[in-house]
Amino acid sequence: MGFGFLVPAFLAGLAALAIPLWMHLRHRDKDQPYKFPSLMFLEQLPIRTSQRQRITDWPLLLLRALAVALLVFAFARPVLTRQGIAGTDTRSKAVVILLDRSASMGHTSVWPAALDSARRIISALGARDRVGVVFFDDAAEVAQRLTEDKGAAAAVLSSAKPLPRGTRFAPAMRTARQMLLDAPYAAAEIVLISDLQRAGTTGIAGLDLPSGVQLRGVNVSATDRSNSAVRGVDASRISDGTRTMLAVKARVSTRELTASRTVKATLILSGREAGTKTVPLPASGETVVTFDPVVALASAVSGTVTLEGDALAADDSFFFVVPREDPLRVAFVLPEDASGEETLFLDRALAIGRTPEITLDRLRAAALNAAVLRDAAVVLLWDVTPTASGAELLEKYVSDGGGVIYAAGRRLGSQRTSSSLAPARITGTADRLVDRGGTLTQLHLEHALFAPLRSTPEALGGARFLRYPRIDAASGAEVLARFDDGLPAIVERRVGSGRVLMLATPLDALSGDLPLQPAFLPFVRQLMLHASGRDAVPLWRTTAESWSLPDAVRDPVVRIPDQSLLRPKADSMGSAVPLADAGLYSAYAGTATGAPGAYLAVNVPSSESDLTPIDPKELLLGVRESERAAVTSGAPPTNDELERRQNGWRLLLIVVALALLGETFMSTRGWRAVARRYRPAMPERSEP
């Protein structure tokens, strides 16, 4: 026979035990202490601790504490439960089957075993027992609510199949918990049928199961856990004379193979086979497969690297998308007197890196015209202001989505000029030679401009700037970083669909040492990508994430891996698509015809390739101890029986009343009553 509480939250009231303790510590005689002329001599006496002890009446204190504790227990509604093993009884109960359908369950020997386990559990239930079925992967789906119709429950099993998704137990357990809370039950059990991959346990810590619910894990993992999988792909465009080639490398991992073996790896680009390689696989470890470069289209290329099938096919294919070869062209506007030494570091830094490649088109301010702007993704004004006509063109260019960067230096600082387009006004030059240069502080690391530096926020802090222009941020502009003297260092303003940035941080090595810092290269590259509105796009993402569709794809329609179409709803943050399945996602503008506006490759998490199961007992580690201890089994109790099991609170209230009566009697009778009214008796009169 077990013991629990219907409303355990009331147990917090046990803190009220401090009240009688506090009263006794304050001492019962404090209301009427015996006023004595002076304690001068009494304080000199060695008084035993027991005499100083404030708690002088332990029986009364214990009685009062007992009354308070019993009152709290009564409010918590104690209930008696009968304990047993739910799986072995044949009487009515509620069972929720959680069936794992993640990618790893697609192992040839696992999925049939999982279905068999589920069917056995259903068939073992009694006629009045209820059963529910939940399929889960990254998320949970209720396939069958609690029902006595075992046939319906078995039927939904036949509709299940492994999906290219990850594994998470927590959503499934919470779903089962909610199903059991929605329907009254006398005995309940949650049966988790899974290959019990460790990655799935994320999030079950602190899981709160209702009292009387038993959680049982059924391990259906394969005995032969040998597996090979494609873990990642590196694809980049390289130049081969006049052609652009696509070089693809794939990383293949193997686990627990009985012996090293050789498999064939196939590269598929845009739906067509582009190469094969024979790969020797070690028993355990990783191998890099390098495919021969192939001629690549300028547009985005979707690809797949596939290994020869093994028992788990879901991780033998790896999807990726190489963005279109669209070098980011920067109109690099230079002043007349600019030297090559000034821009040397910037030139070199931007020349490094692919996807996308950044090209600089050097020109003078007077040469800035509509044709230049049509081809440029970013206009970089190197310590120079545009001409009047150029400024007008730039305003329209930015409104249409272009990016402009003012790299302010000594020239602009001395001219103190500014334009309406600039996000800040230049008021002069700050000379920090005397204090060995200023540094950058107050970086808004959450801003996209500093995305590559978030893990090393101190990287930019090491740079020192000897001279830089003083700038005041214009209205509506955001200060992204400041110098240590409080002056703005980097300011950004959104104009229409584009953005304008002003950097007071010198990008040359003459006025500071920023170009000599390791952070310079990722910083200037991200500066260009951010100004152009094109952030670096990963070659793939994993399931359970979300894809924020680019603004360029208006009224988007998305074709998901199972070839069905999805029309995501747009909100203030734009449109987003949940990436439930692994595969290729294509976003179209308006209708799903023609060339997609955007591609995205999605793969299952690499943890799905690890087939090593955990001990089923580990599932219970995260579940609260008090909740899983009590399990009931037996016939559903009648209303009278339920009422009888919860009758404890009435008994407790009676005991509380008796305890309070006893307390009243004890404190008002006998020596305690004398003590309450006690005034020390007059001493015997001594003869003078």
Partner: protein, 299 residues
């Protein structure tokens, strides 16, 4: 010396008399009943002796006749039966507001001072009063016409606060510049040696000091036999204890205190009178009168 009728001096009876003047008169009349009236009036001077002039002596007191005969300065000294200045110092701290019987120590002390003042008035002395707690509170300068003012001040004095007995005694010397009698009425909760040093200072100024140590029987006995919390009447400090287990040790301490106090006061050349407030006032009056008479020869 015949004993005074107890009915006039019994503290329980005195507690029912609210008028201090009436009370004092009742006490003194009862006390003086059957005793030799020795009150001396006037300022008669009887020659005592000559002594050599010392710088600082009053030039008016030089006996010019002797100078004419001997060509030396001599001072004439007299046995002077003069009116003395008597200053009563009343401890009105919180510890005095205690009484296990009909009277508190404070009320007993007030009755005592009123009676002594009445007695002194009829001796022709100048009487004054100083009440003190942490410092002097009310001061009535010594005067032959201040009896009513003294009694009125006594009647409106209340007990409150923490006593600074030694400091207050030190300040008493400033009340009157003229040497006289200082009668300190207190429960003397301080170190005997500290009290003695303060009395030494008064003695140096030429004062005769008499200490009336007011004691309640409960202070001697430590009453009670059940666990109880004692509260310090002045500081409010609480101390839970079992009196029956501590009584003997406490009595040893308090008796040692009384003995040390009496010895130290006597060593300072002052009179020590322990006044138990469950006893009639006559013992205190006798002690005072003896002290007063011993001072009758002043120079």
């Amino acid at each position: 010396m015949p004993a005074a009728p107890a009915s006039f001096l019994d503290p329980a009876m005195l507690a029912r008399i609210s008028d201090l003047a009436l009370l004092a008169r009742t006490v003194v009349d009862g006390f003086m009943h059957g005793q030799h009236r020795s009150m001396r009036k006037g300022a008669s001077l009887d020659f005592a002796q000559h002594r050599s002039y010392q710088p600082g002596d009053d030039l008016r007191r030089i006996d010019w006749r002797v100078y004419g005969r001997t060509d030396r300065f001599y001072i004439k000294e007299y046995d002077a039966d003069t009116n003395a200045s008597v200053v009563f110092a009343l401890d009105s701290s919180g510890s005095m507001d205690f009484g296990s019987g009909a009277l508190t120590k404070f009320n007993y002390a007030r009755f005592l001072i009123a009676s002594l003042a009445w007695l002194s008035q009829h001796q022709g002395d100048r009487i004054g009063l100083a009440t003190f707690v942490g410092d002097l509170v009310d001061v009535v300068p010594p005067s032959v016409r201040h009896l009513q003012l003294l009694l009125h001040t006594l009647s409106r004095t209340t007990v409150k606060g923490t006593s600074q007995l030694v400091h207050s005694i030190d300040r008493l010397g400033l009340v009157t510049m003229r040497a006289g009698i200082v009668a300190i009425v207190s429960d003397c909760y301080d170190a005997p040696d500290r009290i003695g040093r303060s009395i030494d200072a008064l003695r140096v100024r030429g004062h005769d000091v008499i200490v009336f140590h007011v004691v309640d029987p409960a202070e001697r006995e430590l009453p009670g036999d059940l666990p109880i919390t004692f509260e310090d009447a002045e500081s409010g400090v609480l101390l839970p204890l079992r009196p029956d287990e501590l009584r003997s040790k406490y009595q040893t301490l308090i008796n040692a205190h009384h003995l040390a106090l009496s010895k130290r006061v006597a060593a300072a050349g002052a009179d020590y009178v322990r006044v138990d407030i469950d006893q009639p006032l006559d013992r205190a009056l006798h002690a005072y009168l003896d002290s007063r008479l011993s001072r009758s020869r002043v120079r």
